[in-house]
């Protein structure tokens, strides 16, 4: 009888540690995704600054871009979403107004901006995906009753407008026409 009770307790302890390990890994995944997201946002800011300084967009557009980057850099954590959304909008306006153009008017700085804008979308999707899995795991009863989440804060979604500027379709090579 006692042996059974000990066995049951051991099994339950094993199960609990399994759940705690999974939750620990989810928290870690959120942290990793958050670091990736912040890296992607930083990369976009410096790419946009490089574009504004390269002289291939109109002067007013360049100034608007620099202002939006500065605002995003200064925004605290609570206003970061608004500032980064605004940067996305300004970037779209300026880049799409400058027109698709050929190879001459699309220098590497512009390709870098487009790649960085795409990177923000990818990183944010993965971060929110991690947050959603973690929040669901923390709703489970066993996690709440045994306080498996400990002191870790409940992660929050990061919702911004991150639609990248529309890119021109790659031109067909003449020999395929």
């Amino acid at each position: 009888m006692v042996a059974w009770a000990v066995l049951a307790l051991a099994l339950f302890g094993f199960y609990l540690s399994w759940r705690a390990t999974r939750l620990h890994r989810l928290h870690h995944r959120v942290d990793v995704a958050r670091a990736g997201l912040e890296g992607a946002l930083a990369r976009r800011r410096s790419a946009v600054l490089a574009l504004a300084g390269a002289g291939c967009v109109p002067r007013a557009g360049a100034r608007a871009l620099e202002e939006a980057v500065a605002a995003a850099g200064e925004a605290g954590e609570r206003r970061l979403d608004l500032a980064e959304s605004r940067l996305s909008r300004v970037l779209r306006d300026v880049v799409e107004e400058a027109g698709p153009g050929g190879a001459a008017s699309a220098p590497p700085v512009r390709a870098e901006v487009e790649a960085a804008a795409k990177g923000v979308h990818i990183a944010r999707t993965f971060y929110n995906d991690a947050v959603s899995d973690t929040r669901r795991a923390r709703r489970s009863r066993i996690v709440r009753v045994f306080r498996l989440a400990g002191t870790a804060p409940l992660p929050d979604y990061f919702e911004i407008d991150d639609r990248p500027p529309r890119t021109a379709p790659p031109a067909a090579r003449p020999d395929t026409l």
Binding site: G13, F14, L16, S17, W18, A20, T21, R22, L23, H24, R25, L26, H27, H28, R29, D31, V32, A33, R34, A35, G36, L37, G39, A40, A115, K118, G119, H121, I122, A123, T125, F126, N128, D129, A130, S132, D133, R136, A137, R147, L148, A149, G150, T151, A152, P169, P170, A171, A172, T176, L177
Partner: protein, 397 residues
């Protein structure tokens, strides 16, 4: 980068996921990455395997997701998966279709570290996915980055598993198609229509095309229909009126080179699918070969054909509409040339080189944050299982 790709379906049986994994592996290798592919292999002796392929064990036929899939599962396969992961030294592990009960799922359980998954299934009522999503959460919650191959696949994932995914479409090896010549004797003087797909799969819509052909043929005495693809041709072509039978030319299953030529062999290539297509690889291949296309207006096709700019769209399932539009195209070589050029232009977005670059961007995003928190060596390692210490240091990451 060292990349481990995992394919859940038997490598020696042709299929969309296998093709996707194979093409991706080739494109990544071409970009200078080191790739190893793990997949079940049935007849290792007969099939020609690429160098980077590692067999994961013999597959068994399992009814899964509405058809019979050849999967590999069990302790012996699990041991091989673990060995492959521990010896691979991968920077990132990329599993395909992780919900299928096969090596992809085993790899998710066995691995710890940067993990990317691609979801191919688009089935709004996938009972397999709905039933398994809770049970498989311990595997799927490890995935750092999810990719869906189409909007429909993404929606299926969001509804059944939760979370979100970035959209990266299937690729097409444009180079393999763009310089193909028509098969001998085609397209012929009297005009011709083309079809490629399984003959006995109703959703591929061959019956709609045959009805349309029967409507067009009396007024166009030279018109022929080229039908390429595996399946029982007697049953599939039984509905063709006797007088037209010899103008419908079935070619059976074609090898890759002849397939590329078949797209170019007809004046107008038809994709009459009724639905259930999440992407339409046949359509992008036809576009890459420069065919003038008439396709049904299902959402996936309309998106690929840019709303009709890169190929004509007809009302899905309507033979009369198909006959009218195909007829108009046959009479207008100028417009056929314009559609062909537009299709070649539009398909560049689906070129494997473009697509693989997006996949690498996903890898880089997943790897960017690694090393945060724990000071462990980056890269994929074996999962060490539950740790009692996780109970002691709850919440401190």
């Amino acid at each position: 980068m060292r990349i481990g790709l995992v394919c859940p379906y038997a490598w020696d049986v042709p299929g969309g996921v296998q093709q996707h994994v194979g093409d991706l592996a080739e494109a990544l290798t071409g970009m200078g990455h080191e790739v190893s592919v793990l997949a079940p292999v049935g007849d290792a002796g007969t099939a020609v395997l690429p160098d980077h392929l590692v067999p994961a064990g013999r597959p068994v036929p399992v009814p899964y997701n509405g058809s019979v899939a050849r999967l590999s599962f069990g302790p012996r396969t699990a041991t091989r998966v673990r060995r492959w992961i521990s010896e691979g030294g991968f920077d990132v592990l990329h599993v395909h279709e992780p919900s299928a009960p096969s090596v992809s799922l085993l790899a998710c359980w066995a691995a710890d570290g940067p993990l990317v998954a691609t979801f191919h299934t688009s089935n709004p009522r996938s009972r397999a996915m709905a039933a398994s999503s809770r049970a498989l959460r311990s595997a799927t919650e490890k995935i750092n980055g999810r990719i869906a191959v189409s909007e429909a696949a993404r929606r299926t994932l969001v509804e059944h598993v939760g979370g979100d995914a970035v959209l990266i479409p299937n690729g097409v090896a444009v180079r393999a198609f763009e310089h193909a010549d028509p098969l001998p004797g085609w397209p012929g003087e009297g005009g011709s229509l083309g079809f490629l797909g399984r003959l006995d799969e109703p959703r591929k819509g061959l019956a709609v095309l045959l009805d349309a052909f029967a409507l067009m043929a009396p007024a166009r005495p030279g018109l022929r229909l080229l039908v390429a693809g595996p399946g029982d041709r007697e049953a599939a072509l039984a509905g063709v009126p006797a007088g037209l039978r010899e103008r419908v030319v079935p070619l059976g299953r074609l090898d890759d080179a002849d397939k590329a030529r078949a797209y170019r062999s007809a004046d107008v290539f038809c994709a009459p699918n009724l639905g259930g297509e999440s992407f339409g690889i046949v359509l992008t291949e036809a576009m890459a070969s420069g065919a003038a296309i008439v396709a049904s207006d299902i959402p996936a096709f309309s998106a690929v054909l840019e709303g009709g700019d890169a190929g004509d769209l007809f009302s899905a399932g309507d033979p009369a509409d198909l006959a009218e539009r195909a007829g108009a195209l046959l009479d207008d070589p100028e417009r056929r040339r314009a559609l062909s050029a537009a299709a070649r232009r539009a398909v560049r977005a689906y070129d494997w080189e473009t697509v693989a670059a997006d996949v690498v961007h996903v890898y880089e995003t997943v790897l960017a944050g690694q090393g945060t928190g724990d000071g462990r060596r980056p890269g994929v390692r074996l999962d060490t299982g539950p740790r009692a210490t996780a109970l002691l240091r709850r919440g401190s990451v």
